[in-house]
């Protein structure tokens, strides 16, 4: 009877479930169910499970908002935080950064674009000129704790490879001074939007725009209460949750996160009124670490390009850094969370380069 039992069981399972159809709009149902659960949790006081940082945000960022708004912000922030924690460095992030800069450099608007990828300690960055031609392509791969930096200069048609260079910038160092501590959120200084590219991270300048660095700074920003939910908007035709910096921030920062993954899909940073007008838009794509995606981290050497020594390529490449990508003048505050940020605007471990110093 054993075979009979198996066959009968198989047929029985088929019959038992034959009429079942998954409800239409399953994902919508799930979203509704989640909202109901969160609402219930909020009502029953289970919201105490929210992180202290999220609570701080609720108190600090939107003191006059209705209760529902506070819960919404805290919940979104918590999810964004955990999504970023899970994604970095487990996923490859690809980021396209467009920088518009005006007034600072003679009133003209310069637009540059960079494409960046990062995955763990590996990264790659391609910088394009305004017409869209690659200026330089650089990246760092790591094996056995040794990083190998590759730089290709498209203008001079040269390339170099150097061991021991190209480590991405470490997470932002926290200032020793307690002046920047915001309502108990120590690393508030690190919550600065770090889209501003300082150029050529492999050459010793902070890799401020690498996706992994941005993910870290955003994680800190959401934990430190510098952002609050401002509804939903469509980004490239797809609905996204919008988070904005506080109105009294020195610069305006807006982040859109995917409601399904809670990972940022777009970040826009704009200087405060009265400051040099700089706006950066970063579109972020989170990619699984498949072989094809990992291959994007490799810097290709175009055929016919000449191999040169590192010093030989360094100077001409530095000269090519577009003005908009150079460090900002001292006093331009990048930290919306910190009101008295003068003097720590460049507390990123390296002093700022003099404006135009390499031009």
């Amino acid at each position: 009877m054993s075979t009979d039992i198996e066959d009968l069981l198989r047929e029985g399972m088929d019959r038992f479930t034959a009429d079942l159809r998954a409800p239409a709009g399953l994902t919508c149902q799930i979203a509704r169910r989640r909202r109901r659960r969160l609402a219930l949790r909020s009502l029953t006081g289970a919201a105490t499970a929210l992180s202290a940082a999220a609570v701080a945000l609720a108190v600090v960022a939107v003191p006059s908002s209705p209760r529902a708004g506070i819960d919404l912000t805290a919940d979104v922030v918590r999810h964004v935080n955990s999504a970023l924690t899970a994604a970095d460095p487990g996923d490859i992030a690809q980021m396209t950064v467009t920088t518009s800069s005006a007034a600072t450099y003679g009133g003209t608007t310069a637009v540059t674009t960079a494409e960046e990828w990062s995955y763990g300690d590996q990264w790659r960055s391609v910088t394009y000129s305004s017409p869209g031609h690659p200026l330089y392509d650089e990246g760092s791969s790591t094996s056995s704790a040794l990083s190998v930096y590759t730089l290709v200069n498209y203008r001079t048609q040269t390339w170099t490879r150097q061991s021991g260079l190209g480590r991405p910038a470490a997470p932002l160092p926290l200032p020793a001074s307690g002046k920047t501590v915001l309502h108990g959120c120590g690393p508030a200084v690190a919550a600065a939007p770090l889209l501003f590219r300082y150029g050529l991270p492999g050459m010793g300048l902070p890799a401020s725009t690498l996706p992994s660095t941005v993910a870290r700074s955003l994680r800190t920003a959401v934990s430190c209460g510098t952002l609050t939910v401002a509804g939903r908007e469509r980004v490239d035709g797809v609905e996204a949750i919008k988070l904005t910096s506080r109105p009294d921030s020195f610069i305006s920062e807006t982040i859109w996160v995917s409601p399904s993954t809670y990972l940022p899909v777009r970040v826009v940073v704009r200087s405060a009124p009265g400051s040099p007008v700089i706006q950066q838009t970063a579109d972020i794509t989170w990619l699984p670490p498949t072989a094809a995606n990992v291959a994007r981290l490799a810097v290709p050497i175009p055929a016919g390009f000449r191999h040169v020594s590192f010093p030989e390529i360094a100077a001409p490449t530095f000269k090519q850094i577009p003005a908009a990508l150079l460090p900002l003048p001292r006093g331009f505050c990048l930290m919306p969370a910190v009101s008295a940020c003068h003097g720590v605007a460049f507390a990123y471990g390296r002093p700022p380069l003099p404006l135009g110093g390499f031009r």
């Binding site: 009877m1 054993s2 009979d4 039992i5 198996e6 009968l8 069981l9 198989r10 047929e11 029985g12 399972m13 088929d14 019959r15 038992f16 479930t17 079942l20 159809r21 998954a22 409800p23 399953l26 994902t27 149902q29 799930i30 169910r33 989640r34 999504a83 899970a86 994604a87 487990g90 996923d91 690809q94 980004v235 490239d236 797809v238 996204a240 995917s258 399904s260 993954t261 809670y262 990972l263 899909v265 777009r266 579109d283 794509t285 989170w286 990619l287 699984p288 670490p289 498949t290």
Partner: protein, 177 residues
């Protein structure tokens, strides 16, 4: 936005496979309501990880369903309550009207099995996975799958003892309830 493109892919995946996954969930959970609940929880987890899943999303959902079914019943002890209720129902195997098919009875008997044995049988005979594939889903050894499946089938036979061979054969010959 890859994440959002992925959402469209997720919708497509669910449109194609949600019916089958719901049937699996119902078999694991024992009834439609619990099955839908199980599937929603599994898909919610899928949603959270969608952008990062490299490979077969159905495999991920199936694995999640199985783990939820085993862990959930183990933790909540709900299975014990259900088992008692089902035993009450099935204590009279000789259906008075004679129109209960052994197939249906076997499925109800299946729901009396411990969660792991039930899950193994669902994977083997509903999902039609091999022992090795079922072991991969459950994160255990092939030997564990074989022994759980064997114990589950043995228990089904034991529970089905109340059903006469006549009833079984009449069911096999096409009599439907």
């Amino acid at each position: 936005m890859a994440a959002d493109r992925s959402t469209a892919e997720l919708e497509r995946f669910l449109a194609e496979r949600a019916d089958h996954l719901l049937r699996t969930a119902v078999l694991l959970a024992g009834n439609r309501e619990a099955g839908e609940d199980l599937l929603q929880t599994a898909v919610e987890r899928l949603l959270r990880r969608w952008g990062r899943i490299d490979g077969d999303p159905e495999g991920y959902v199936r694995r999640t369903l199985c783990n939820l079914a085993i862990d959930g019943y183990r933790r909540a002890g709900r299975w014990r309550q259900k088992e008692r209720l089902l035993r009450t129902e099935l204590r009279q195997p000789q259906d008075a009207t004679g129109d209960v098919d052994l197939r249906d009875a076997l499925v109800r008997l299946l729901l009396q099995l411990p969660a792991r044995q039930r899950t193994v049988l669902v994977l083997r005979y509903w999902e039609q996975l091999t022992d090795a594939e079922a072991a991969a889903v459950l994160g255990c050894s092939e030997g564990t799958v074989k022994s759980s499946g064997s114990r589950g089938l043995a228990r089904l036979r034991e529970l089905a003892d109340g059903w006469t061979d006549t009833a079984a054969m009449s069911g096999r010959n096409g009599k439907r309830s």
